[in-house]
């Protein structure tokens, strides 16, 4: 009875942490996308401005540079969101550690962890995966089909 209540509490709490983290991550994706869009728009405005009229060109460049600085404010907000996610994940990690200890007591791990699709690993952490130079060497060394 006590164990069931504890399990239900852990599940609800885990869901709440994951849900909060998901909301923060969605907000970060939106904020970074909007900022990148705004910054690139400024760059495109500068690139398409006519430099023939120096005064007007200077004004446009100045305005667009200010807008770029403004858009970079997203870094502050996303930094705060990421800090909150780290806090949520830390709580979740502790809960999972406790839950896994409990599960280990109840049954053996069947080793059926879900695996990602073949050849999809996503960006690698610093120092893992290959650099462009390593990829170039691999590319030259590996076999190409005849076409």
């Amino acid at each position: 009875m006590e164990r069931n209540i504890s399990k239900r509490h852990t599940t609800a709490s885990t869901r709440a942490h994951l849900s909060a983290a998901r909301r923060e991550l969605c907000a970060i994706v939106r904020a970074t996308e909007a900022a990148a869009g705004a910054i690139m728009q400024c760059a495109e405005n500068v690139l398409s401005a006519d430099p023939a009229c120096a005064e007007s060109y200077r004004r446009i460049v100045g305005q667009q540079m200010s807008a770029i600085f403004e858009s970079c404010a997203f870094q502050d907000i996303t930094g705060q969101r990421i800090a909150r996610i780290i806090a949520q994940l830390t709580k979740l990690e502790l809960q999972l550690a406790h839950a896994s200890l409990r599960l280990a007591e109840e049954r053996k791990d069947d080793g059926s962890a879900r695996k990602r699709g073949p050849l999809l690993h996503g960006p690698q952490p610093q120092g893992r995966g290959n650099s462009q130079a390593e990829i170039d060497a691999l590319f030259l060394a590996s076999e190409a089909p005849s076409r």
């Binding site: 690139m40 996503g122 690698q124 290959n130 650099s131 462009q132 590319f139 089909p145």
Partner: protein, 126 residues
């Protein structure tokens, strides 16, 4: 010698990345640049218009860049279209799989205009 007037198809599911590549290509002097948001959309465009180069991301849905590459190489009308993979997938198995599937060059994200230029030059000088 690279033909600067050739149409280029950029395939990526992130509009931001499409804009980055489009602007880099414009800086390099290419004028005709189209885009598609996944492999199947790209395949439709490739079958409707002749492109001089495809620059594609790997990880997209529903059709990945790797699947697009294999479709392109299997299609007699498209099989000789130069194809550059631009991706965050930097593991050795990815590079080897892409090369075996017939990719002409491989760029790992993040990259700069110089890397893009050197890979395009390499594709057309080889």
């Amino acid at each position: 010698m690279v033909d600067m007037s050739m149409p280029i198809l950029v395939v990526d599911d992130y509009n931001t990345m499409i804009r980055i590549i489009r602007n880099l290509l414009r800086q390099l002097g290419f004028a005709e640049i189209d885009d598609a948001s996944d492999g199947s959309a790209a395949l439709s465009k490739l079958r409707a218009k002749k492109y001089g180069l495809v620059i594609s991301d790997w990880n997209m849905e529903p059709m990945t860049g790797y699947e697009l590459l294999k479709e392109v190489r299997a299609d007699p009308g498209l099989s000789r279209t130069p194809f550059i993979m631009v991706t965050a997938e930097s593991k050795t198995e990815n590079v080897i799989a892409a090369k075996r599937a017939g990719v002409d060059n491989y760029i790992v994200k993040p990259f700069n205009a110089q890397t893009l230029k050197s890979k395009i030059d390499a594709v057309f000088s080889g």
